[in-house]
Structure formats: C-alpha cells, structure tokens
C-alpha cells in the first residue's frame, strides 16, 4: 500500500481529456438532434389513425429499446461493412446513438402528443387550418416546450452513453482516459479525473438546460 498519488500526468494530458469531453458532448448533441427528428416522426406514427404506421413504429421502438446500446454499436461498426456499408468510427457511433435515442425520444414525444388537449387541435380545425398546419404551428411547438425537461434528461444520459464509443476507438473522454491509464499506469488518477469531468460536465449541462427550459416554457 505504498501507492503515492501523482496527478502530474493528468495535468500534462489535460488537453486530451478536454478534447475527449468535447467530442462526447458533440456526439451526444448531434444524436439528440437527429434522434429528435426520428422521434418526432415515430411519435406521430405511434398515435396515427393508420394501423400500418402504428405497427411499424411500434416495432421499431420495441426492438431498439430492447437491444443493449453496445450491441447496436458493434452491429453497425462491425456488422454493416459485411454488407458493404462501411463508416468511419465516429459517424458509425453517431449513427448507432441516433437510432438508439430516437426510440426513446419517440416515447417521450408520444406522451407529449397525448397530453395536448383534443380541443386545441379542434380549435385549429375550426379556424380552417389543415392537419399539416395544425401539426406544424400548434402541436409541435406545444410538444417541444412540454417535453424539454424529458429531452434534457435524455441528453445528459446520452452524453454519458458516449463513453461506450471507446469500444470502437472513438477518441472521446473514456478512450483518452484509458490511454493515459495504459501509458502511465496512473490508474486512480486517470479514472478519478475522468469521473470528475463527467460529473462537472453533467451538472453544468443540467443547469444550462434548466435555463433553456425556463426560457421556452409556456408563460403562466
């Protein structure tokens, strides 16, 4: 038990850790943005009058939500090249994360859509708006505002999920940390530093998103 803690190696590699952190935040952001589009389409399908839409979107959500993220990532990175679809590490990971989070966001949006009173849509119909216009100008704006808190949680948890990207050699924070660990054997220093960075980043995102939520909330 004569391990003496020494964070010098962390300070020297801090730029790599921050780069990894930034990359994780970026990949989570892109995935949430694209996943929201998928989620929106799926949510409208899930509550559609047409059975075919409901069934297809239901299958997507049920399948994707019940496959571990790691499997989706490995499948896309190692599996798809066998059928001629090869992506670099980073796009491949973002693709996997987007598909994955789209299924969760779909459920969030579906709940939000069901929470919009029926009368609000009818009021849109009564003033002569088409279904498309009602969706674009009434339902989706209400939806986005009401699901912001849930989307924020989603973003934070997705950001933490980016640590899985290390498995396909995307140089994000976990990957960088592991590299420091294996290069220097400063195991405790490396992983404790990564933990601190994850915690601080998540707390800052939470505070930031809370402010955004308040900004876009429907005035009461």
């Amino acid at each position: 038990m004569d391990y003496s803690v020494n964070y010098d190696v962390i300070w020297r590699n801090l730029h790599n850790l921050f780069y990894g952190l930034g990359l994780g935040l970026y990949m989570a952001l892109v995935s949430v943005a694209l996943g929201s589009l998928i989620g929106l389409v799926l949510a409208f399908s899930l509550v559609s009058k047409r059975k075919l839409f409901r069934v297809l979107s239901g299958i997507y959500v049920a399948v994707i939500r019940n496959i571990p993220l790691m499997i989706i990532i490995l499948f896309i990175y190692f599996g798809l090249p066998d059928v001629g679809l090869t992506f670099a590490e980073q796009p491949s990971f973002i693709f996997a994360l987007t598909i994955y989070t789209g299924a969760y966001i779909a459920e969030v949006f579906r709940g939000g859509l069901l929470a919009i009173p029926k009368g609000v849509g009818e009021a849109g119909m009564a003033v002569g708006m088409s279904n498309f216009q009602i969706n674009i100008f009434i339902k989706i704006p209400i939806l986005i505002r009401s699901v912001m808190p849930a989307l924020s949680n989603n973003y934070i948890s997705l950001f933490k999920d980016t640590s899985v990207a290390a498995i396909v050699a995307v140089p994000e924070l976990t990957f960088q940390t592991r590299k420091i660990n294996t290069d220097t054997f400063r195991t405790i220093e490396a992983w404790s530093s990564a933990s601190v960075l994850y915690v601080v980043a998540c707390l800052l995102i939470a505070i930031l998103l809370r402010r955004v939520e308040r900004r876009v909330a429907i005035p009461k």
Binding site: E122, A123, G124, A126, P141
Partner: protein, 255 residues
C-alpha cells in the same frame, strides 16, 4: 332565399348503434340568432359540431350560404368531400368552445392572427391589425401580449370569440361557452355575444343560460333525445311552453 345562411335538413348522426341526432332540420337567415336548449345528451353540441364538420353525419345535409358542406352527391351516392374541401367548408363557420381551447403557446394576439396568416394568407402586419381590432372589440385592448395562462377564464373566452370572428365567418357557433366559467365571469362573455347580435352577426348558440337565450334569440330550439321537440320565439318557448317535456325541462332549470 338569398338571405339563407344555414339550412340543416333531416340530419342523422350515430355513434355506432347509438343514434344521437334523429332527423334534425332547421334554418337561419342572415342576422338570425337562434339558441338551442335542452338537457345534456339531447344532441345540442353534436348538432353544432356537425355544422362545423368536426363530426361526420350519416344522413341529411347542411348548407351554409348556399354551399352544401361535408358531403356531395356522386352518381346517386352520398360521398364525403376531400379533407381539403372539409377544411375550406369549415372556414365558413366560426366556432367557440366550452373549454376555450386557446393555443397555450401563443399570445392573445397570435391566437387570433395565426389563422389569418396561415389560412387567409394575410401579411403579418395586417393580421396583427385585425387581431388588435377584435381584441378591442371584445374589451381586451391591452391584453394582446398576454398568454392564455395569464388570462382569466372570461378573458380567454373573449379572445376565443375574437379568434373565431376575425376569420369573418358566415355564421358563428357557440357551444356552451359559459359553462366552464366562474359565475362572476359569465356576463362579460354574454355581453360580447349580445353586442355581436346587435351588429347583425348570424349565430347558433347552444346554451344553459336561459335568461340570455330569452333576451338574445329570435328563435329558440328545444332539443330532446335527438330531435327538435319544440321551437318558437323566446316568448312561445319560455312563457307558453306547449310541450310537456319542455315544461318539465324549464321547471328544472334556472331562469
């Protein structure tokens, strides 16, 4: 005949096996104010929603300003018109709902101007001007920036009236518009409707406010179990009810 704004003939409407409207016919000329009274479940609201095409109906026809709405004859068959046409037909009427149904994410002004811009393709500034005009008209000149959640029920309902009438409909439909309001807020809404009546707006009003129906209407319709059980002038309906059902109904309601 040129004055006829609304003509409902032999309207039948069922939900599955349950027939809600069993052959309703009535008509309104320009400037007519007609109130529909009756117990819950008598079909009043359903009738109004059919006129606005928020409900399908199985038989009969509705003509608004000379146009048959919702359905048309094709090779001797009755077929529903396209969704696009339904949207167009619907614009002939203005509807005010019991639960206001304002768009919660938009200010009072935007609630009124949204459809002016998107449906009638008016410019933002024109739409805003029209919205402000109607806000003033319903007694809310300085609440344009307020959101529905910041307005009282009575104020919300007045914005809803402004939103509907700003679209310049041929006829206004009011569906129990004071039923969700606190008692002290009812009159401000009824006063707005009365003033529209004075100005000659054609209106079909479903209401539980008997005194209001008595004062504002040219004709009162009493609905019972899906049919018009009695109709006549307010005096005929309220002072000399000829129909036994109507007498019982009036005895049990507050005038």
């Amino acid at each position: 005949m040129t004055n006829r704004v609304l003509e409902i003939s032999n309207l039948h409407k069922s939900y599955g096996d349950h027939e809600v409207l069993k052959g309703v016919s009535t008509e309104l000329d320009k400037g007519d104010v007609v109130s529909i009274i009756g117990a819950s479940g008598s079909g009043k609201t359903t009738l109004l929603r059919c006129v606005n095409l928020l409900e399908d109906f199985q038989d009969g026809s509705i003509n608004i300003d000379g146009t048959q709405v919702g359905y048309q004859e094709s090779k001797g068959k009755r077929v529903k018109v396209s969704n696009k046409q339904v949207t167009k037909d619907r614009a002939l009427t203005g509807m005010v709902f019991q639960s206001f149904n304002l768009f919660p994410h938009l200010s009072a002004t935007e609630n009124i101007s949204l459809a002016l811009r998107k449906v009638q393709k008016k410019s933002a500034s024109d739409a805003k001007e029209i919205a402000q005009h109607w806000l003033e008209r319903v007694g809310l000149p300085d609440r344009g920036h307020s959101f529905p959640g910041q307005l009282s029920g009575g104020q919300q309902q007045r914005v809803a009236i402004a939103r509907a009438i700003a679209m310049n409909p041929k006829i206004m439909l009011f569906d129990e518009v004071t039923s969700a309001l606190d008692p002290e807020l009812i009159n401000e809404v009824l006063d707005v409707i009365k003033s529209l009546a004075v100005e000659g707006m054609t209106m079909l009003i479903v209401t539980h406010e008997m005194r209001f129906a008595y004062e504002v209407s040219k004709k009162v319709i009493f609905m019972n179990e899906g049919v018009i059980a009695a109709q006549g002038t307010p005096d005929e309906i309220f002072k000399n009810p000829s129909n036994e059902r109507l007498s019982t109904f009036l005895k049990n309601t507050r005038f």
